[in-house]
């Protein structure tokens, strides 16, 4: 029996294979990468009874249009996503997220768009048949490494799917992605480089997510933040969630595919518990920052982890 595969009819804007990310390579210039929204990534794999770290297809804004060949499969989509299943009999089913569906041979899956959010996830039972690089499937397009030879998926390629025994298992989860009022942050290592009035603007005014936002970083616009010390620091390591303020005074938040080294002052760092919600903010969304203490951030992470585990346990 030959493996099932998708013919990619339309690739979508930024569709890449991702898992939980790649460790221990910052020092040679490779970012962590991995699924942007970890909670939705984990739910997608658990819905189709895969391992937590199996590769899934992440898409942004417009997703792919895929035609299934050879055998039937079981799949689930997570996020806030508008999709349709076009049966070979020409029936059309409007898809719901957080629910498994059986896709039959020659059916099409049309992932039309994400709604007021950025990323969605497609998991198939058995997992995608793709290759690892340095112990991770995550695609880092800028370095050309990871699944699919380090590239986004493209139209007219094939995506192979591992054989799966339990394609009839039907599962679902009652879940709605909640919106976030504030992005909570900790002080960055250069917090005191900024004038008092800039700090007060930073922590009270709204900032707008701009279109210059991708897996590498999120650029914001709002009041210009004035650096009263030095606008360049010696290049040093970065991590995801760091908010840098370059010379022009507009914040840039480092996201999962960020450059590993940078030389702009760090005004703050987004807490780990808020990262999944941060990355889902689409261009033109207004956000506010709230400064908290490390001990509170650690408590909020425990809560986030507990909620995620509870959700995974509620999948039936």
């Amino acid at each position: 029996m030959t493996n099932s595969f998708f013919d990619v009819v339309r690739s979508g804007i930024n569709s890449t294979f991702q898992d939980l990310g790649r460790k221990n390579l910052y020092h040679i210039g490779l970012p962590f990468s991995g699924a942007m929204d970890k909670r939705n990534f984990l739910i997608s794999n658990n819905l189709v009874s895969n391992q937590n770290n199996d590769p899934v297809l992440e898409f942004a804004y417009q997703g792919p249009l895929l035609k299934l060949r050879n055998n039937n499969i079981n799949f689930a989509i997570t996020g806030d996503v508008n999709f349709k299943i076009k049966k070979s009999s020409s029936d059309i089913i409007n898809g719901e997220c957080y629910k498994t569906y059986i896709l039959n041979k020659d059916d099409e899956l049309d992932i039309i768009s994400t709604n007021k959010s950025v990323y969605g996830y497609l998991a198939v039972s058995g997992g995608f048949k793709v290759e690892k690089y340095s112990d991770s499937y995550s695609t880092t397009t800028r370095a050309g490494i990871g699944a699919n030879n380090g590239n986004k998926i493209s139209s007219n390629q094939k995506i192979y799917i591992n054989e799966s025994k339990n394609i009839s298992a039907s599962k679902k989860l009652d879940f709605i992605n909640s919106r976030i009022e504030f992005i909570r942050i900790l002080k960055g290592t250069n917090f005191d480089y900024f004038s008092d009035s800039s700090i007060s603007k930073f922590l009270s005014e709204e900032f707008i997510v701009t279109k210059l936002t991708d897996r590498m970083g999120m650029r914001l616009k709002g009041s210009k933040l004035e650096n009263i010390k030095e606008t360049n620091i010696r290049s040093e390591g970065l991590i995801k969630g760091v908010i840098q303020i370059p010379t022009d005074g507009d914040p840039i938040i480092m996201l999962s595919d960020h450059g590993t080294i940078g030389g702009y002052p760090k005004i703050g760092v987004v807490i780990s518990a808020d990262y999944d919600k941060l990355v889902q903010l689409s261009p033109n969304t207004k956000i506010k920052f709230k400064l908290i203490e490390l001990s509170e951030a650690e408590k909020l992470y425990k809560l986030y982890k507990m909620e995620t585990d509870n959700l995974l346990n509620k999948i039936r």
């Binding site: 460790k23 910052y26 020092h27 010696r234 290049s235 390591g237 991590i239 650690e298």
Partner: protein
């Protein structure tokens, strides 16, 4: 050694080795980097050395800031790096078609091309750090006579393999990317070779690097390109 340890967000430790930037301080950073790497501490996901900082990121599911800070403060630090570093000789072609900023360097430094290359080639440089993009080494220190600022307007596309200088440093562009350093040549070798998964970078923090000149014919026939 470490002047100050603080948190960077809730999942990283920021070790500051002081304001100055020199080989001695950076060697300390790299000694800490290699010593911590060797200890395989549970929960560490990345260790990033740079000129005068070391950032250690960790998995909040496995450890937290204060516990890891405690462990880092008690790591026994390697006394010497000598047996851990390599010396790498990098071929470069400096014909005018590759040395894109040689005219700017001529004018600003008031040195001929020959003088520039004599001052630059066949000297040992030290790798302070590797990164920004995969495999890009930050090397130094170059001769005082060769020190110049970045271009006023950075290039949108720097060709892959370009060898470039600015201030006391030089680097090699491992991918085509934007950049503002002064380009003096191009190497045909793969400084980041993804086909070698165990060690895709040939130049790592602490290594010694020297450049030697090759002809265009040798460049074009270089078999690893």
């Amino acid at each position: 050694m470490i002047k100050n340890i603080s948190n960077l967000g809730d999942a990283a430790i920021y070790c500051d080795f002081g304001k100055e930037i020199n080989k001695e301080i950076n060697t300390n950073v790299i000694r800490y980097f290699k010593s911590i790497q060797k200890k395989n501490i549970k929960g560490i996901t990345n260790i990033t050395p740079s000129y005068n900082k070391l950032i250690i990121s960790f998995d909040l599911d496995l450890i937290n800031y204060s516990d890891l800070k405690n462990q880092i403060e008690n790591v026994k630090i390697l006394s010497s790096l000598e047996d851990k570093v390599k010396t790498i000789k990098v071929p470069i072609c400096c014909d005018d078609e590759f040395a894109l900023d040689i005219d700017r360097l001529n004018k600003k430094l008031k040195l001929s091309k020959e003088e520039i290359l004599n001052n630059y080639l066949n000297k040992n440089y030290f790798c302070y750090m590797t990164g920004f993009v995969a495999g890009m080494p930050f090397l130094g220190d170059i001769d005082k006579k060769l020190r110049l600022n970045r271009l006023e307007t950075p290039r949108v596309k720097v060709p892959k393999g370009s060898v470039a200088i600015t201030e006391q440093f030089c680097n090699i562009y491992t991918f085509e990317s934007p950049g503002g350093w002064n380009i003096i040549g191009n190497t045909p070798i793969k400084v980041f070779d993804k086909s070698n998964q165990n060690q895709p970078t040939i130049i790592n923090p602490g290594d010694k690097v020297s450049f030697y000149q090759i002809t265009k014919e040798e460049y074009l026939n270089w078999n690893d390109k």
